[in-house]
Amino acid sequence: MIQPFTPEPIRFVAEDGTPVQPLPERFTPELLRELHALMLRAREFDRKLITLLRQGRTTFYAQSSGMEATQVGLARSIRVGHDWVWPYYRDHTLGLAMGVPMAELLSQCLGTNSDSSRGRQMPHHFAAQAQNFVSISSSIASQVPPAAGNAMAQKYLGVDELTVCTFGDGATSEGDWHAGLNMAGAAKAPAMFVCENNQWAISTSIREQTASETIHIKAKAYGMPGYYVDGNDIVAVMEVCAYVADQIRAGHGPALVECLTYRVGSHSNADADAEKHYRTREEVKEWLGRDPITRIEKLLEHLGHPVSAGERAALIASTHREVDEQVLKAEATGQPDWRIMFEDVYADLPGHLRDQEAFLRAEQTGQAGQGGRA
């Protein structure tokens, strides 16, 4: 049994890769290698996207480097395509680990015709119906009340699904966050709220964000258990999230999980040199020492199943190859044309949008009349 409200983050593997408590049986070397591969793949995806950004082929990117254990661990703790996920904007690693095709993520970042949301959202705001990975909104914490509602609907329908809602530490200051947790708590809805506490909301540190010592203790106010996890220890994240998911499925109501992790890179390309403006190189260096990928590699080494340099290089090379291939494929589908602006606003095109579409069609084909509007 895993305890809520622990004073220290729950941890199975120390930073040097040695287990601090017995590893649960399911963490075989095969599983650990699979998790390692998923995390490394996500890290390399990040690297490639930064390159695409520099090449001007996309315009925005928010890395999740350093947070792989939290997102991959969460993805591997739920029933993909059965449970529902209301993610936030730094969750592409969660998406990748849930099996959202890399082609889909890249298409969205590139805004091509192959993007399922048709180039309507800024890069990094995915949606994937097959995985019940609900569309990401930029407005912070606005996904939290809908996630509560999604869980309430699951309870109403009597299905054994649960709803996962993720957010960063900054989101916990928003009114919507408190409203959503309170609603889910009052309704005893099957919702797992996961704070990916990477300690910085753009340039605002967690210490400036809240006077509360931790995020997970806020769960007390909403009548739900709060779990505190070392978010860079994938074994801990999986153990806690799987336990919490089981508890929720058993009808015990919602829970809050705080994964203490660190965003190693900048918030986005918009603040590319974070160390110069708002945090110290020492702090980043300290957290690099707790890196989740290095930690699982050290654990595998400790268990006598090290990942060889060759295997690692092959994984990196295959990820880079895959990204390159998918980018070319996505770009070959071209950019969605102007018509997509008018589709999916409503279920059917109302008259005023029909008029405006006709106006734009005339303009685009060089047949626009004089002045006025549609």
Binding site: P145, N182, D344, A347
Partner: protein, 344 residues
């Protein structure tokens, strides 16, 4: 003001033996329609502050929890963000939520949920996820409510693509529009003019019917001037038209019923016929939705106009408590605007 609301039976008069029509008031129409839709579709759930045992502060949901049980009709925490946001999540997961916001004035905390989530989830997900839902809320003045119980905030929502915005002024339309809202595939903001809840009485047929969005109603035909409004001001438009008729002026009265989408064709053909238009709403004038109607009229049928388009609106002040009736555009102010147009 809510303490003075009495619990009243929601049954209307007995139906006419031949036609099956009954005369009921607007709030009864709302209650009946919710009940009928819940009966028809088990995915329809109703929730908000005090909608359960209390039956809503205006009694619009009286008896529904008793009838459908607390699983389908329930009170929520006092949080508009939660109510609207939860409706979005429920709709995405396959329910047909009807959320009540106690007063339109209190939609502020739910605004982010309305404009960021409800209005846009279809668009931003490329149709992968949609939020068919209804937000019902009493709006408008005339009930001595002061500025937090009397405002007309519809223009905030007509300005947001992805939302449909409607406001009935008769029991017939309340039933027909609410059915359309619950059965539709888009998020709908359903404003209920609270001063007409019991004041507006009218016949409703026994059979199932809908009023489609985007179809205005011509309340009376006329040839000299088009008087156009929606919601709580409609009885004042009728009174103004009566007063002008006594002076020999033939006024065409149009009730927009739905603002997004709105019935441009009906409005333009009326103005083409009469040559004059006066637009009435009780919302503050700046960025008032009727400004859009006026713009389209001057843009599209300018040559038909024999006078500038007139507008009667609320003042650009917070809604006052004591001067409730002075704030609202009453028949006199409407008649004066019509006379200006007629004498231009």
């Amino acid at each position: 003001m809510t303490a003075t609301q009495e619990r009243t039976p929601t049954q209307g008069a007995a139906p006419d033996a031949e036609t099956g029509t009954r005369t009921i008031n607007l709030i009864q129409a709302v209650t009946e329609t919710i009940a009928e839709e819940m009966e028809r579709d088990s995915r329809v759930v109703l929730f908000g502050e005090d909608v359960g045992a209390r039956g809503g502060v205006f009694m619009a949901t009286a008896g529904l929890q008793e009838r459908f049980g607390p699983r389908r009709v329930f009170d929520t925490p006092l949080s508009e963000a939660s109510i609207v946001g939860a409706a979005v999540g429920m709709a995405v997961r396959g329910l047909r939520p009807i959320a009540e916001i106690q007063f339109a004035d209190y939609m502020g905390p739910g605004f982010d949920q309305i404009i960021s989530q409800a209005a846009k989830i279809r668009y931003r997900s490329g149709g992968q996820f949609t939020a068919p839902m209804v937000i019902r809320t009493p709006s408008g003045g005339g009930v001595k409510g002061g500025h937090h119980h009397s405002q007309s905030p519809e223009s905030y929502y007509t300005h947001t693509p992805g939302l449909k915005v409607v406001m009935p002024s008769t029991p017939y339309d309340a039933k027909g529009l609410l059915r359309s809202a619950v059965r539709g595939e888009d998020p709908v903001i359903f404003f209920e003019p609270k001063r007409l809840y019991r004041a507006a009485r009218g016949e409703v047929p026994a059979h199932d019917y809908v009023v489609r969005f985007g179809e205005a109603a011509v309340r009376r035909e006329g040839t000299d001037l088009s008087l156009i409004g929606y919601g709580g001001v409609m009885p004042d438009l009728e009174r103004a038209a009566d007063a002008l008729a006594a002076e020999g002026v033939s006024v065409e009265v149009i009730d927009l019923r739905s603002l997004v989408p709105w019935d441009k064709d009906r409005v333009l053909s009326s103005v083409e016929k009469t040559g004059r238009a006066v637009l009435v709403s009780e919302a503050p004038r700046i960025s008032n939705f009727m400004g859009e109607v006026a713009y389209v009229i001057q843009e599209q049928v300018f040559d038909s106009l024999t006078a500038p388009v007139g507008q009667v609106a609320g003042f650009d002040t917070p809604y006052p408590y004591v001067q409730d009736k002075v704030y609202l555009p009453g028949p006199n102010r409407i008649v004066a605007a019509c006379v200006r147009a007629l004498n231009y």
